[in-house]
């Protein structure tokens, strides 16, 4: 696995000490433990406004844990997390304000199984905005169109959708309130290569049109290659490298070499 040899790792331009002014998410000294097992250990990470950050690491390294800690589903032991410059520990009210400005795509969609697609997408909007039924329906259609689904899908239930459709509907729901940040947990896992490619393209387009910041946990080398502006690598509870795809390819770190120069990687990157 990720051995901590003295191999020079990729220089991290946004080094831990300097909080860049543009950071929309900034994680400092984050430690998360389950029992005595430390999953994240003094982790630093900055996400810049408007970028697509791809987040990789071995299975079980704690990628999803970091994402879930940032969005508040996993309690942390120590450290601070700031989103939009607001410390997430500074009270429920501040937290609610922040939560309204992000959208989350869970790995398995997490659509409400007893609501149909239309109701799933409208659910957060109804909660937060007092708008007419007409506008709600129109916005639902707009979101469905944006994620590349046909309007007929609106009246189906999650159990009647294919895997790819579930991901798209979940993305539409994550985007329902036009958030500034979206968290994507393995958005292309379980999709066919064409579907995955479309999804990457979709994320790119949305990022361009809506000015989104995207935090993407992924294993998909294609996604990392085509969709991500920057890549951060998690290992031993810390960020072991971050930078562009070119930086990753140039890295001498053994795990990175294996990840980005393995057989599968060569097929993608060449």
């Amino acid at each position: 696995m990720t051995s901590t040899t003295a191999t020079p790792i990729v220089e991290t331009p946004t080094a831990a000490a300097s909080t860049s002014a543009n950071a929309i998410i900034s994680v400092r000294d984050l430690t998360v433990a389950f029992g005595s097992r430390r999953v994240l250990d003094g982790l630093h990470l900055d996400v810049t406004r408007g970028e697509i950050l791809g987040f990789v690491g071995a299975s079980g390294a704690g990628k999803s844990v970091l994402m879930r800690t940032i969005i508040g589903l996993v309690p942390k032991v120590s450290g601070t997390i700031e989103v939009f410059g607001t410390d997430l520990d500074s009270g429920d009210k501040a937290r609610r304000e922040v939560e309204r400005r992000w959208g989350i795509l869970f790995q398995h969609g997490a659509l409400f199984s007893s609501l149909n697609v239309r109701q799933n997408i409208q659910f957060p909007v109804r909660e937060y905005l007092k708008v007419s039924e007409r506008l709600l329906d129109e916005i639902t259609m707009a979101k469905l169109t944006m994620v590349g689904l046909k309007p007929e899908v609106a009246d189906r239930y999650p159990s009647e959708l294919s895997g790819g459709m579930i991901k798209r509907v979940a993305l539409a729901r994550a985007l329902a309130l036009d958030p500034e940040i979206v968290f994507l947990d393995e958005p292309t896992s379980g999709l066919d290569p064409i579907g995955a490619g479309d999804f990457d393209e979709l994320v790119r387009t949305l990022q361009r049109t809506l000015g989104l910041t995207v935090f993407m946990v992924t294993h998909d080398l294609d996604s990392l290659h085509t969709a991500c502006d920057r890549i951060a690598v998690l290992g031993n509870g810390k960020i072991i490298a971050q930078g562009t795809m070119a930086d990753m390819l140039a890295s001498q770190h053994p795990w990175l070499r294996e990840y980005f120069h393995g057989k599968r990687a060569r097929a993608v990157i060449g």
Binding site: S114, D137, A142, A154, D178
Partner: protein, 376 residues
């Protein structure tokens, strides 16, 4: 962030609608009102266009409302134009331009028809339920014979596990509740019989009632609520996560692997629980008869021996396994009927308990008629 505005500026025979401020989700209610007002201008001038150069922030909500306004104005005759789009926002507006007008959700018929429709479906559903129950009984019996011929297929571990769940773990609550019911029945009996000076007959009543009816019925209802619901929820969530399909594809029969062990456990558990329940109720009744009615234990026991025969006990115990079958079959049928949603799981668990209790009481009635006609 400044709120959104939409100003009307006349230009010759044309009209410019100048949008400004932030057109975002946060201001959606205000935006909707603005756009609603502006839509009324449709056809008022030959040439209307929308100027968005002053918009400071735009998201899907704003872009859609601008697009909606454009469509409404276009209906007035001339194609309305959007002017002053920055490159960033142009892609967003292009994106929402592809949106087709909303399809309304299918409208329901009249109220009366909906009511009749509901009744019809429910009546039809009763037939389906009965067919499903008979189907399950058949499948379980067939599985039983298969296992009988090849005893190695019998899943003893699973049976023991379920026996612990439905029998051993249920003992405290079953004993407690039946004990209390025994106390209450005895107290009420003594209270009313005392007026005729017939206190001691409370023992007859308690013995017959508890051994023939109350013990087994009460325990069956508790088991339906406790274990029937658990069976339905377990099988239902396995169905939801395609675990049952997985079993089937590996060449296992879901009835043999999942349902038969549960049924066997329940059929063994209910008589045991019914017996313990009956004893607890008699004990509770005896205690009250002693402390409240002044019937001391030795006379309680001798009176009990006179009042009841082994027949009463047998009548009660014979019913227990049958009721267990009924509860188990209903629970398993409901579990396998669960569809994809969490709501469906809840509905079927509820209906498992309701139907289970209903059929237990129906069976009790059938037994009462049967025993009355053969004279025990």
């Amino acid at each position: 962030m400044s709120g959104p505005t939409l100003e009307q500026i006349a230009k010759g025979d044309g009209l410019a609608l100048c949008a400004a401020g932030s057109w975002t989700a946060r201001f959606a209610p205000a935006l909707e009102k603005l756009v609603g007002e502006a839509e009324k201008l449709t056809g008022s001038r030959p040439n209307i266009f929308i100027d968005v150069s002053q918009v400071s922030k735009l998201d899907t909500f704003g872009a859609w409302l601008i697009e909606r306004l454009r469509r409404a104005l276009t209906n007035g005759g001339h194609e309305a134009q959007i002017a002053g789009l920055s490159a960033n926002y142009a892609t967003l507006v292009d994106e929402v331009r592809r949106v087709k007008p909303a399809v309304a959700p299918p409208a329901g018929g009249s109220h009366l028809i909906a009511v009749l429709d509901g009744i019809g479906r429910n009546v039809h559903g009763i037939g389906e339920t009965l067919v499903a129950l008979v189907d399950m009984i058949g499948a379980v019996i067939a599985a039983w014979f298969r296992v009988w011929r090849h005893p190695s297929k019998f899943r003893l571990t699973s049976v023991v596990h379920h026996l612990q769940q439905v029998c051993w773990n249920a003992v405290p609550i079953v004993v407690l509740i039946t004990f209390l019911i025994g106390c209450i029945v005895a107290q009420q009996g003594i209270f009313h019989f005392r007026r005729f000076g017939a206190d001691v007959f409370v023992v007859d009543m308690l013995g017959v009632l508890v051994l023939r009816e109350l013990g087994v019925l009460l325990v069956a209802i508790m088991v339906a609520g406790r274990s029937g619901s658990a069976y339905t929820a377990e099988l239902g969530s396995m169905k939801m996560r395609e675990e049952i399909d997985a079993l089937r594809t590996m060449g296992f029969d879901a009835i043999e692997v999942l349902i038969l062990p549960r049924m066997v456990a329940l059929v063994l558990a209910l008589p045991i629980l019914a017996f313990l329940g009956a004893m607890a109720a008699l004990y509770g009744g005896g205690l009250v008869a002693w402390t409240y009615g002044g019937v001391d234990p030795s006379s309680f026991l001798s009176r009990l021996r006179e009042a009841i025969s082994i027949n009463h006990f047998i009548v009660g115990m014979v019913k227990a396994p049958v009721m267990a079958m009924v509860i188990g079959i209903v629970a398993c049928v409901e579990g396998l009927a669960v569809q994809g949603s969490a709501e469906s799981l809840g509905q079927h668990t509820t209906s498992s308990v309701v139907k289970g209790i209903f059929f237990v009481i129906v069976m009790d009635g059938v037994f009462a008629i049967f025993f009355a006609s053969i004279g025990i």
